[in-house]
Symmetry: C2
Subunit: 434 residues, 2 copies
C-alpha cells in the first residue's frame, strides 16, 4: 500500500507561491564581498542593473507569465537576513580569514531589503531594470537571474506527465554522475560550483552540489552560493566581477581616469581583502590592453580569472605575462569560469597540469544541463545566455567589452568609444551559449 | 497515480541506522551552561551518571533490543560539533548576552566527543553508567534519555500497520492542537519547550515546537533544545540543574561544607552568568531548609524554579520568603517545570496572575503525550519516569532529596543521612508519572 500524506498534498495543491529565492544569502558570495566594498567606498553612487537576454530567439515574455514573475520578485523583496544567517556571516571563516565582514556592514545588511524593480514587456522580452543606489541594486543580479531561469524551467515542465518528469530527472542525475566519474580521475583537481544564476532550480542546484560533495570529495572546493555553503558546511567561494571596473570606467571624466579605472578598483579591493581574494578579472575592456598597461604590482596578486578568452589561449597569455614580470606561474593561480563543460575542464587541466595552479568555477553546465534528458525534445529546458549587468552609473553609460565581442554589453556608441580607447587586440569571436 | 520515489524507498529500506541523536547540540541548553562552569571550575572532578528508571513496572531491557541501544549510543559517540554549530554558539545572543561561551571553552567543545559507557542487563532493566570526568559524563544525560525513550516508542510502534500509525499521529496532532487553543486564551503567558529528554521522538518534538511557534506566537518563549533553537531561530532557554548542588554536596567533607554546598554553587554560577540566568533551583535537599538558611543575596536573584513541590503550594512559599526579605514578588520570576500538563499550567497561571512573573517549562506532556491516541491500548507509548542522574563524585555518593520523597535519588543510607541533616519539613509525597 502506498500512503499519501493528505495534509502535505492539500498544502502542496493550495500553495500560493513556491518561492524560488528562499533567503537573501541565496546569492553568490562575491556579491557580498563587492557589496561591502561598495557600501564602504561608493555609498552615494547610483547604478542601474538591467536584465539582458543575449539569446534573443527565446521570447521570455511569451514563455513566462508576467504575474508569476512579479510574485517571485515581490517575494524576494520580502526577505531579510535571518538571525542564524547573520551569525554565520559574522562568525564563519572565509578564505581562511575571520571577520571578513565588518560589524557595521553586517548591521546595515541585517536591515537590507532588495529595492524596487521596473518591469514591462517589449517585443516578447521583459525589460527588467533596477534603479537606485549601487549598494542596493547590485544585490538584484543573482536573484533576478535565478528567478527568470527557474520560471522558465517551470514553464517548460508544466505540461509534462509524472513519468516523464521522473525520467527527466533520472536522466539528468545519471548524466551528472557520469561527469563526476570523469572528474574524479584527475588528481589534484580543484573545482567549485558557480551555477546559482543559471540554475534549473534551487533544489536541482542543491542536488548537484551534494552530488559533488559526495562524488569528488576534496576536489570539490566549495560553492559560490552562500546559503548552500552555510547549509552544507562547504566553503563559500568567489572574488569580484565586471561591475567594479565597469562602474569605475563609467564614472571616469577624463582619458587618464578611464585608463586608470581597471587598476583603481583593484587597489580598492586590496584595501579590503587580501591573500586568495586577490584575483584579477582582466577582460572587462580586453585582456591584451589590461596586461600591456598593468602596473607591476598586479603581478604580485595571487591569480587571474580569464572569463571570456578561450581557456587555453587566454591562460597561456597570462602565463607569458607573469614570466615577463619575472614571476613563476607555478606560484600563481588561474581560475577558469567561462561556460565550462567537462570536456573543457579536462582539456584545460591536462594542458596546464604542473605549470600553474588551477581552479575551475563550474556554472551553467553543472546546474542546468538537461540536454538529451527530456523524453521529448523540449527547447524550454535548454539554458539561455542571460545576464544582469550594470548599464549606467550616476547617469553615465556603463560598458563591458570582454575578449569576445559577443559578450560585450552597453550602449553601442559607447562600446565603439571604448573599443577605440582600449583597442581590439586579441578579441576572439566565440559563440556564447550560456 | 501515486508515485514512489524508488531511490528514497530503497535508501529507507536498507537504512543501517535511523539515528536518534543527530547532533551534539541536540541537548538541553542548560547542559552547555553548566558544562562551561564545570569545565572552568571543576575540570578534575570525576562524576558518574547513571540511568534510573523510576517506573520499575516497565522492564526496559525486555522492550528494547540491547544491540539497537548500543548502536544508538555508539552513533551519538561519533558526533562532533559541526562548523555551523560552533559558529552559532559563538555568535548567537543567549538571554540577551553576547559571547556567553568563552572562546577557549568553545575550542574545547569543538574537539569533544561523548565518553564511553557501561551497559549491561539486570532484572529486566538496563544498567547504564557513564564514568569519568564530570565535564564529559554530564553531557550524556540528555542523549541517553532521548535514546532510551525513542527506542521505547519505536518498539511500541514496530508492529502497527500504516493506517494505525497514520491515525495515531493524526490524533496526537489534534490533541496537541487542542492544548494550543487552550493556552492561547491566556494573555501574557510565557511557555517554553523542556521536552527533549522524554520526547516520543526527535521528529515529533520538532513538530510540537513548530506547532507552538505557529500556534501561540509570542507566548512561546523558546526551547531548551539547542539544535531546535538554532534550526528554527528560537531562543534557547534553561539555567541549571540538580547536578550542581548534588556534586558540591557529595564533595563536602564536613558538616559546614555540606550546609554551604547549595549556596556555594550559586556563587559559582553568579561568577559566570547574570541577569535572567540567575534562577535558583531550591529543592535538591528540600526547599524549606534551603530557604531557611539562605543568605540574603539569594533574594536578589531573578527567580526560582520550584521543581518538585506542587506548583501553587511551592510558589506561595517562595513568594512568602521573598516578602520576608522585603522583595516585591512582582519583580520576581517563578519558573514551573515539574510534570506540567495544560490543566496545571492554566490553574497555576490563574492562581498567580498579577502577583509574580511566571514562566512555564513544558516537558513530557508536550513532547510525549500519546494517551488515547493509539487505536488499540498501547502501554509502550505511555511515558515513564526515567532520569539520568549523577550518582557519585570523586567516588563519594551523590544524593538528591527534592520536596517529593518519590523523586529522591542516591544510595539509601546516604539519603537517610541527608534527610537527617537537611530535615524533612515540607516534604509532600506525590505520584511521579513523568
Amino acid at each position: 500500500m502506498t500512503k499519501t500524506d493528505i495534509a502535505s498534498r492539500v498544502y502542496n495543491h493550495t500553495w500560493k507561491l513556491d518561492p524560488i529565492i528562499r533567503s537573501l544569502i541565496d546569492t553568490d558570495f562575491y556579491k557580498l564581498l563587492m557589496l561591502q566594498m561598495i557600501w564602504k567606498l561608493y555609498p552615494q553612487v547610483n547604478a542601474t542593473f538591467s536584465l539582458i537576454n543575449r539569446t534573443t530567439s527565446v521570447r521570455l515574455a511569451d514563455d513566462i507569465d508576467e504575474q508569476e514573475l512579479r510574485d517571485q520578485l515581490d517575494h524576494a523583496r520580502s526577505l531579510k537576513l535571518t538571525k542564524k544567517e547573520a551569525i554565520w556571516l559574522a562568525g564563519n571563516t572565509f578564505y581562511g580569514r575571520n571577520q571578513i565582514f565588518e560589524p557595521e556592514f553586517l548591521a546595515w545588511l541585517a536591515a537590507f531589503r532588495l529595492p524596487e524593480y521596473e518591469l514591462y514587456r517589449e517585443d516578447g522580452q521583459f525589460v527588467l531594470n533596477f534603479h537606485g543606489r549601487w549598494m542596493e541594486t547590485s544585490m538584484w543580479e543573482i536573484p533576478a537571474l535565478a528567478i527568470i531561469n527557474e520560471l522558465r524551467s517551470r514553464a517548460a515542465m508544466k505540461h509534462l506527465g509524472q513519468f516523464t518528469l521522473d525520467v527527466l530527472y533520472a536522466r539528468a542525475k545519471a548524466k551528472m554522475w557520469s561527469k563526476v566519474e570523469r572528474l574524479r580521475t584527475l588528481p589534484g583537481l580543484r573545482i567549485s560550483d558557480f551555477g546559482t544564476r543559471r540554475r534549473h532550480s534551487f533544489l536541482w542546484q542543491r542536488w548537484c552540489v551534494e552530488a559533488l560533495k559526495e562524488g569528488i570529495g576534496e576536489a570539490f572546493t566549495g560553492t559560490s552560493n552562500v546559503k548552500l555553503a552555510m547549509d552544507s558546511d562547504l566553503e563559500a567561494v568567489g572574488t569580484n566581477a565586471h561591475e567594479l571596473p565597469m562602474v569605475a570606467a563609467a564614472l571616469a571624466t577624463t582619458d587618464e581616469e578611464l585608463a586608470a579605472a581597471p587598476y583603481k578598483v583593484l587597489q580598492d579591493w586590496n584595501r579590503l581583502y587580501g591573500g586568495n581574494l586577490l584575483i584579477v578579472l582582466p577582460d572587462a575592456f580586453g585582456t591584451a590592453h589590461f596586461l600591456k598597461h598593468a602596473p607591476d604590482w598586479v603581478a604580485d596578486w595571487t591569480g587571474f580569472r580569464p572569463d571570456s578568452a578561450p581557456p587555453i589561449e587566454g591562460g597561456e597569455k597570462i602565463i607569458d605575462w607573469w614570466q615577463s614580470k619575472g614571476k613563476d606561474p607555478r606560484d600563481k593561480l588561474l581560475i577558469f569560469s567561462d561556460g565550462l563543460d567537462v570536456d573543457a575542464i579536462i582539456a584545460t587541466y591536462r594542458h596546464f597540469e604542473g605549470r600553474v595552479r588551477m581552479s575551475f568555477g563550474w556554472g551553467t553546465n553543472l546546474t542546468n544541463d538537461f540536454a538529451g534528458c527530456a523524453p521529448a525534445e523540449n527547447a524550454g529546458l535548454k539554458p539561455i545566455s542571460i545576464v544582469c549587468k550594470v548599464t549606467d552609473a550616476n547617469g553615465r553609460p556603463a560598458v563591458k567589452l570582454s575578449d569576445n565581442p559577443r559578450k560585450a554589453t552597453g550602449d553601442p556608441a559607447e562600446v565603439q568609444r571604448y573599443l577605440k580607447f582600449f583597442g581590439t587586440e586579441d578579441q576572439v569571436v566565440q559563440d556564447v551559449t550560456v
